[in-house]
């Protein structure tokens, strides 16, 4: 009797394994949380030191349009206006997302509703292949194909927002497509069956039932694509021209937060103003990443169909 009791209440092998597993998972999670927290703290503290230590006005930083951190302007303040880069980042992000969305949703509809077999067999591997291509390859193709192409059409140098948009369009397309496919696949089968049973055509079903009930998922897909476009550095840096000028049109050289950030980081000394303002740019990027994250959660929370 006591033996059984001891075996039931004492530590069995499985019980120990359970505890071990729990401990390992907990340690891993703790490390992740620690890493994320320290990244947040590091970027924030470095990014804010521009304003608190170097005494740059936050408003001047956000709205100034001259970027030349090593030099001071007429008012004696360093020239650290980030508006050209902020504008550039938002323009390429919004334009590439606007361009990619119809293609991605079209491909997703084809893969889930119109021809699932061809979609699974051919289109899906192709889309997944696109994800695996390193961004430097996209950048190089942009530099050697897209930039000369736009140069021959519009004149000028070919570097600019339009080239960056096109490169980013190709880069975010697989992300948006595969997430859109998931969203459409998540629509319950009986929605479609009910719609068809009531005499709706296939296109009516897709348009009025499937797309509508998958809207939150599709929006999430687009926002994810935008987050990727916003944070992409290497490929954009190669094709946008990296001129810290306010973009006046889509075909003159411009810059994004990431392109200026990655170009300058290696050439500045830690702790100097030139370095701190780069961290401030990084802070803007991080805040935007958080914003995109919250946005997807918010969209997800709004739930599937109302009524």
């Amino acid at each position: 009797m006591e033996e059984i009791q001891a075996r039931l209440l004492g530590n069995s092998k499985k019980g120990r394994l359970e505890k071990l597993g729990k401990t390992i998972s907990f340690i891993c999670i703790a490390i992740i949380v620690l890493v994320v927290a320290s990244i947040l703290y590091f970027v924030t503290s470095k990014g804010l030191s521009t304003f608190f230590i170097d005494g740059i006005s936050f408003w001047d930083f956000l709205t100034g349009s001259v970027w030349n951190p090593g030099n001071v302007g007429e008012n004696g303040q360093p020239l650290v206006g980030a508006l050209p880069m902020i504008t550039g980042s938002f323009l390429v992000t919004l334009l590439s997302a606007a361009l990619a969305t119809p293609f991605a949703i079209g491909a997703a509809i084809f893969m889930t509703e119109i021809s699932p077999t061809t979609g699974k067999r051919i289109l899906q591997p192709v889309v997944e292949l696109l994800v695996g291509i390193p961004s430097v390859v996209y950048g190089f193709i942009g530099l050697t194909v897209i930039v000369p192409f736009f140069r021959s059409i519009f004149g000028g140098t070919g570097f600019g927002i339009i080239s960056a948009t096109l490169v980013l369009f190709v880069m975010i397309l697989p992300t948006v497509t595969s997430m859109a496919v998931d969203a459409l696949n998540a629509v319950p089968r009986y929605y479609r069956e009910a719609s068809l049973a009531m005499g709706a055509t296939r296109w009516q079903t897709i348009y009025k039932v499937v797309l509508r009930s998958a809207t939150p998922g599709l929006l999430t897909a687009v926002v994810f694509g935008m987050a990727r476009a916003f944070g992409e550095a290497l490929a954009v840096q190669m094709v946008i021209g990296n001129a810290a000028l306010m973009p006046t049109d889509l075909i003159t050289p411009a810059s994004t937060l990431t392109s200026i950030l990655t170009m300058g980081m290696g050439n500045t000394v830690m702790g100097t103003l030139e370095n701190n303002v780069l961290w401030s740019l990084a802070l803007i990027l991080m805040v935007m990443a958080l914003f995109f994250n919250i946005l997807t959660r918010w969209i997800g929370k709004k739930g599937a169909i109302k009524k």
Partner: protein, 287 residues
């Protein structure tokens, strides 16, 4: 059975973690960080040094002159590479650093073939980079808009170029920038009417190197200082070098490396210079 399997997995997993820290006995290594212009040379020399001295490793990383200087000033690495004098970089306490000038690199303006211009005066070059001359026809070339391409601000190559082309207090126009010499050459080669600048070793048949005031960008002209746009390649140590760091620096400065490798990768040995320059760029007679 399951239990055994998962234990085995754990043991294997930990085994991987442990072997990652590998056998470090009897091995020595140093880390060299900085200037991308100097990186190919140090990498080549490091490999050669490693093959001649078993168990000694030279880790070479790029990151730019600013990184090299800040990392060595913080004593985080063994050697910091830079194209510019430590005194020229803001925020660096140069008094603690020891300068080892391992080579000289000449920098030349390059343009896209077909501009119709092959020789230019220093003043004209100055006006191009300040945005006062905007068309090649103003220089006797074709009617073609000049596109100015700079290296990233803070780049050692750019600092050297601007030191000799721009005057005190003058600034380059805000224009396109690229991070690496390789990309600069690629863009200059393919974009009509573009002007930029690279180290001599990056010049090839895809681009046209301009001569300035009739002086051609050649190694010989750099040695006599007739071609003024050149800079030292510095390898800084924090305090006097010791141990492997010292050995490696001596190796790079040895006749063996200076007379073969340095020229093979497109630099000029410091020993062959007929002039010497100080931080301000003033000429100092060679002792």
């Amino acid at each position: 059975m399951k239990l055994k399997n998962s234990r085995l997995m754990l043991i294997i997993a930990f085994g991987f973690v442990l072997t990652a820290c590998g056998p470090v006995v009897e091995q020595e290594s140093i880390t060299v960080v900085g200037s991308t212009a100097l990186q190919p040379l140090v990498e080549a020399a490091g490999e050669q040094f490693g093959s001649e001295n078993a168990g000694k490793f030279i880790n070479v990383q790029g990151g730019g002159s600013g990184t090299g200087l800040s990392q060595i000033a913080a004593d985080a690495v063994d050697i910091g590479n830079s194209d510019i004098f430590a005194e020229e970089k803001e925020g660096i306490d140069a008094s603690k650093l020891v300068d080892h000038r391992v080579a000289v690199v000449g920098i030349t303006p390059i343009v896209t073939p077909g501009t119709g211009v092959t020789d230019i005066s220093l003043e004209e070059l100055n006006k191009i980079f300040r945005g006062e001359i905007t068309n090649w026809s103003e220089l006797g070339g074709k009617d073609l808009t000049i596109t100015v391409l700079n290296r990233a601000s803070g780049s050692g190559t750019r600092a050297t170029f601007e030191q000799w082309v721009l005057e005190e207090g003058q600034k380059s126009i805000i224009t396109q920038e690229q991070e690496s010499s390789g990309t600069v050459r690629q863009i200059v080669a393919s974009t009509p009417g573009t002007i930029s600048y690279v180290g001599f070793s990056y010049v090839n048949e895809d681009v046209v190197a301009l001569s300035i005031n009739g002086v051609e960008p050649t190694v010989e002209n750099v040695k006599t200082n007739d071609w003024v746009i050149w800079s030292y390649e510095h390898m800084y140590t924090n305090g006097e070098p010791t141990g492997l760091t010292k050995d490696f620096l001596e190796y790079i400065l040895s006749d063996e490396v200076q007379s073969t490798l340095i020229e093979a990768v497109g630099y000029i040995p410091t020993s062959q210079m007929e002039v010497e320059r100080d931080v301000e760029g003033n000429r100092v007679p060679v002792e």
